[in-house]
Symmetry: C2
């Protein structure tokens, strides 16, 4: 669960240059190939590295509009709402939260007009009392993990 400095360097290296293989990574890090193999295996079985799936840009797919919707759910309808939302392709992510709303979801759409269709589909479900949507204008900090990995590596030595 805790990662050391070498783990941190490995993850950062892979994040920056994903195409390099184990051999090249071992050269960059100055350690033996077997070490990199072992570390990678451990990080993956630990769950620290969940996988190396392709990072797809919804905008390039034709969905340039992103929005966050805060949903208020009728008591006891949580399960149904989750099932409903998971069937909507434009729902990229769904969380249940504390605070004003009960759920927060990330949506994408083909345009602002299309966003209306998506929202209608999202909230067109009994159990959702109210929805409040915030459209994303800019994304100054795209989803990132490197700083946190470096932090974790330092904390652990």
């Amino acid at each position: 669960m805790a990662i050391d400095h070498l783990d941190g360097r490995l993850i950062v290296l892979l994040a920056r240059e994903p195409r390099i293989g184990v051999l090249e990574a071992s050269r960059r890090l100055g350690v033996a190939r077997g070490t990199v193999q072992a570390r990678l295996d451990r990080l993956q079985s630990n769950g620290v590295i969940r996988g190396f799936g392709p990072q797809v840009d919804p905008a390039a797919l034709g969905y340039p509009v992103t929005a966050f919707a805060t949903l208020e759910i009728k008591q006891g309808q949580g399960q149904d709402v989750r099932a409903h939302l998971s069937t909507v392709p434009e729902v990229l992510e769904l969380h249940t939260t504390t605070g004003h709303g009960d759920m927060l979801c990330r949506l994408v759409a083909r345009s602002n007009a299309d966003l209306q269709r998506v929202i209608d589909r999202v909230v067109g479900f009994e159990g959702i009392v109210r929805a409040s949507t915030a459209i994303v204008m800019e994304n100054p900090v795209p989803l990132r993990i490197i700083p946190l990995v470096e932090q974790a590596a330092e904390d652990a030595g």
Copy 2:
């Protein structure tokens, strides 16, 4: 920018089994290796596939608490606030939005108590008028892209 059915199958295949190479992918898809190579190159230069970086789980790194903070910014302080937030490792993502708040950011922390420290650091900056935080309890739909890719592939043929 638009993807066809083969592109869609390729992306979905890579998302499900990232470790397979070009050759294995061509076998699974029933097309020639060169075709897969060409499609992959095109998808990457298109920006549809941004890369194959490791997907790191913050929880496994020791940051099991996720929260979303809505920030209200003093007029004209946007740039400074962005720069400030980008220096905080626990800020995984930052968006500027329409609606009640001006910005929405995703935070992680080592515990609920640690979240207080993170929030203090985030809002401890002149220019941030008010912050409202929602702690994530469950994540019924983790960040996903496959359904959207399938949708896009069908739309385009």
